[in-house]
Amino acid sequence: MSGNFLPAVQLTESGRPVLQPNEIECFYLSSVDLLSEDEPSSIPFPHLKSRLLILTTHRLLCLPNSSSPNSSGAFAVPLAAISHIFSHKKSIKSMFASPRIRFQVSLTPDGRVSGNGSRSVVATIVVRGKGDCDAFLTKFWENWRARAWEDDGPAPGSSSGSAFGSNSASASAPASSGIYSSDGTVRMVGVAGILRKEQEMWESTDKSLQDAFQDLNALMSKAKEMVMLAEKMRQKLLSGSTSQTNASNDEEMGTKEEMQDWLLSVGIISPVTKESAGAMYHQQLSRQLADFVKVPLERAGGIVNLIDIYCLFNRARGTELISPDDLLKACLLWEKFDAPMFLRKFDSGVMVIQNKSHSDEEVFSKIKVLVTKPEALRAGISASDAARTLGVAPAMAKEHLLSAESMGLLCRDTSLDGIRFYINLFTEIDQDDMHLVKDHGVYASWIRVNHAP
């Protein structure tokens, strides 16, 4: 099966791939087939149909398409195992057929994809959906050549460079005498070669001039470093706090924890961007958001203001900020892949993200306990009183109070001091005899509190 052949990719609950440290997603192609066109095929290369292809700095991820989330597993081709990428051939045939991208993968003798394999197989990507095939190929090349996986030490599948094959060696050292030049095209010789080299020099000068003005790109590449720095600091803090728990005093611990909290929230190393995801943008964003929201949602007791999430999410993303509109769309897409949370709109128009497991009953019972305390029986409660008890923001607490009111649990008192909420006694009072007070019940205890001598 394909599981033996290609390494599997771990997915989050919402169906987003779990990335390796420092791995960044770069390009998305939807409706892609991955297969081997080698005939006869002695190698059981899987035929993966209509998948979502994600190119990262480290791997080529082949995920089940979002429209059929139950189709089996997600697999990856480590870029380290790719020994060659064939350039795109323009022909009459290619104008009518779906665009194809071919690359060569190294295999170990027992048929596993690996960087130091002795055998190889040519794999083909068939792009069936609408996607910028050329742009993908360019990015594919860039990432393959950038060899980002080597920065993190040997990635699984590529043990050392020496066994990697001559092609990759030529890629890292353009001056070497391989058949391929640095950009993957076949090296030209003779006068044509000299002319071409001249041309290339012109082009590269032009390019570096352009780059000089693209400050934003430079900033973006710095952003990764910043995230790495934050990660390092977090690691240090973690190791520090475990070793010195006894020695350090409480205050120091407090600031450390705070710092840690801040750093932990810089969590998203690979933000889904419009540039990389294209049409898939909102779907992928939606999944990423679902993964992200879990922690703040848990901390806030199952319900969070949408605005709070907007701030937290964008802070975690760092540079690739999203618009409120994108956030809203991402939230609305949760329905489609059965995320464990949903967007809820209160009657007042306030929007929140709520856990599906979160129940209003729990909140209502807390509110009920609060309003039946003697002090609340006498003077009612305000939104901020409820906020303190429920551990949520006052605006959120007010929404809870209003929904408790609409359930008939509470009723309001509007005065110059603003709105205060009381336990609803109207249901307790006997409609036939207004002076009658039952011995037990809320009305009786309300009278005891308010008419005590």
């Binding site: 009612g380 008192d413 509007t414 005065s415 109207f426 009072i429």
Partner: protein, 179 residues
């Protein structure tokens, strides 16, 4: 127990939400019911026939908890009485409300009973005597509002049970029963 003159107020008169018109329908319906009962009860015992919305009315504010009804709330509660036939607006702008703690039909029956009790089946009595005479003392008819009385008399007149005759002035108006 709080009192308003001789009138015994219910406990919930000190419940602040009682003075805020509740926005939730179910709660508001119960609140309106309590207000209707309290207004009728108060008017009956205190012999109040007319409530002016823009005038001071003892029930509509509670100095103890510093709450009073808004104009909207007053109108809502009285309108609920009007719907039930226990009150009538006296003007288009809903500034004054006639409280019918007995419906007009009931008032007519009370008048007939009054005539029987005092042996007036074929007798004559003035309006003034009905309202302030010794015979009506201690009955609901004592101090009855002129508008309500006239309406009740008209019902009986249409049934042929009495004839209203006018004198030289309004004070001289009289009734001849023919039961």
């Amino acid at each position: 127990m709080q009192k308003l003159g001789e009138f015994k107020l219910p406990h919930f008169f000190n419940y602040p939400p009682y003075f805020t018109l509740q926005p939730v329908r179910d709660t508001r319906e119960k609140q309106i019911q309590l207000w209707k009962d309290l207004i009728l009860d108060y008017c009956k015992t205190q012999k109040v026939f007319v409530i002016g919305l823009e005038e001071e009315f003892p029930l509509f504010s509670n100095p103890v908890i510093e709450r009073s009804l808004t104009h909207e709330a007053r109108e809502t509660f009285l309108a609920a009485l009007v719907v039930e036939g226990r009150a009538e607006w006296m003007d288009k702008n809903h500034r004054k409300c006639l409280i019918l703690w007995h419906r007009i039909q009931e008032w007519a029956e009370i008048l007939v009973q009054f005539a029987r009790d005092n042996g007036l089946e074929d007798g004559v009595v003035t309006i003034e005597e009905i309202r302030f005479g010794t015979e009506s003392q201690g009955t609901d008819l004592q101090g009855i509002d002129r508008t309500i009385l006239n309406r009740a008399l008209k019902i009986l007149e249409q049934k042929g049970k009495l004839v209203v005759f006018k004198g030289t002035s309004t004070d001289d108006e009289g009734v001849k029963f023919s039961l």
